[in-house]
Amino acid sequence: MSKGVRCMRRAVSCCWLVLLLVSQVTVAELTIEITQGQDNPVSIAVAPFEWPGNKMAPEDLAEIVSEDLYRSGQFAAMPRQNMLSFPHYAKEVHFRDWRMLGAEYLLIGHVETDAANKRHRVVYELYNVPSGKLVVSGDFTASEKGLRSIGHAISDKVYEKITGIPGNFSTRIVYVTENRLKVAGKMASEYRLEVADADGHRARNLLRSAEPILSPSWSADGGHIAYVSFESNRPAIYIQELRSGNRTLISAFKGLNGAPDWSPDGKHLAVVLSKDGNPEIYTVEIATKKLTRITNHFAIDTEPRWLPDGKSLIFTSNRGGKPQIYKLEIASGEVERLTFEGDYNARAQVTPNGRYLVMVHRNHGVFHIAVQDLKRGVVRVLTETYLDESPSISPNGTMVVYATQLGDRGILAAVSVDGAVKMRLPSSKGNVREPAWSPVIQR
């Protein structure tokens, strides 16, 4: 490469850096399409919420809740045109009508607006239709901007009351997009790190670069994201605060700087460095940047992932000849192989209850997402899509979002850990990859 080209490249990367954190650029809008739902979904009717005054409601809360529940694959939401009435208060509910329509649950609600303070209080009530009994009621208050979040919070309550599992509708997903653009007559890639609500709405750009971005990982409190960026033409690990956009460089050693994974206590990152000649797993104490090497093997050791106890990690290694998943206890250094089925198992994560291992698994030469029951050892392939990778489990442990290929485009897709629900999250443009599901973000 000539000096001129190098300088130009450097100048171009500098330009990108200046453009970091610019959020008015158009972001990829993700939509969710259910391709397979549960066999016997719960039937729920969400009546339109009452909005005070004669202005149009800025957000259709009932629609947000309805869509959330439908997209979980576990609910059938009644279309509005099938409803015989739109009750907002208990006294307006005629259970006979809702029984006739076959609804098992009915959600009603109304909004009280404090005009002086521009605050909206949303009150909701969930009824069991056959018994006519109140299941749960409550209220949330926010500004107009926060109404969507209230919708998701109500979805979480409804989902948890009916299924017994906390809802994940208030969570977010971070992912990487790649767009191929013509720059000065030549095709070039533009990479972005974006974050969106779990339903694909409110997408926001966190970083733009002319060089690859990969392996985003959430901090336990959902406030920061660690990732790998090639913006200097070499890999480096950064931490970025979501609220401010402030970045901290964590590691830029010679060789690999990859696969960051945030520890459950939020104080460490597990990373992969090859500064000592070989890809090994290290932990970095974030406050001091102190490194501790925790693997020592001539094979490839990569993709560390903390277990919920924070005392052990799982990782991918080809020390047995092919990539397989191993577990490592940090204090003792004891290593145990976990996967034996298939000749390629990688990038694994354990469900929050510690029972299942979700991973990329090669079966008959095709890469799919598979789940292994750690108690019984049984492996089950969950997906039928093509070139599946980067699985990330939802905080309640029910869903897995992953990257796959649809035609010529990289898209995100999701599947339930039991394999019953499948969906696609196609983007309005470009390739989308490297999804990471946020933890539950405290409101």
Binding site: R6, G255, L256, G258, V272, S274, H297, T302, V360
Partner: protein, 183 residues
């Protein structure tokens, strides 16, 4: 663990040496000298055109520089690998021997070795695999006489494919190490 590492490294080194021996045949030399010859003609033309009054020594230097530049252009700079493998294939050794010779004769030049993988499998594993491939090429060149200071490796994993298809013919082209010669 330590002895195993050494034994393995020893075996790999031995293998590399054997492969290298196979590579450095008469053919290699022929290619090398003929390309140098061809380049001399091309280089002198441009040097004389621009500076017919320049002293002899300067012309020679310019010609030699052009020589090297043309030789650098003519070197094969992409070496392909098998799936999930960082073993240098026999079809790359001849080209690598030439590159090593070039580096031996041009100690001021350095080479950036970019390791790549195909899109199958996981991104971070592929990042490690790309590094393995770049390092395999680096080690080969070191054994053939290049200096460590002349070599630099970086892995791009599966992030920078040259072929966009999702089939074996594209994958085969994407599993590679690219050498970029710099001053």
């Amino acid at each position: 663990m330590q002895p195993t590492t050494l034994v393995r490294f020893g075996m790999i080194s031995a293998l590399v040496v054997v492969l290298a021996a196979c590579g450095s045949t008469g053919d290699t030399k022929d290619t090398g000298s003929s390309s140098a010859g061809a380049s001399a003609t091309g280089a002198t033309t441009s040097a004389y055109d621009s500076s017919s009054d320049v002293k002899g020594s300067a012309v020679t230097n310019a010609a030699a520089d052009e020589d090297i530049a043309v030789m650098a252009v003519q070197l094969t700079k992409v070496y392909y690998f098998d799936f999930d493998s960082a073993v240098i294939r026999s079809d790359s050794t001849e080209a690598l021997d030439l590159l090593a010779k070039y580096l031996e004769q041009n100690r001021a030049r350095s080479v950036a070795l970019g390791g790549h993988a195909d899109e199958r499998g996981t991104r971070e594993y592929n990042m490690a695999l790309g590094e393995r491939r770049a390092k395999a090429v680096e080690n080969y060149l070191l054994l053939q006489g290049a200096y460590r200071a002349q070599l630099e490796t970086v892995s791009y994993g599966e992030e920078k494919p040259v072929m966009m298809g999702h089939d074996e013919s594209s994958w085969a082209k994407n599993r590679r190490v690219e050498a970029q010669i710099a001053e």
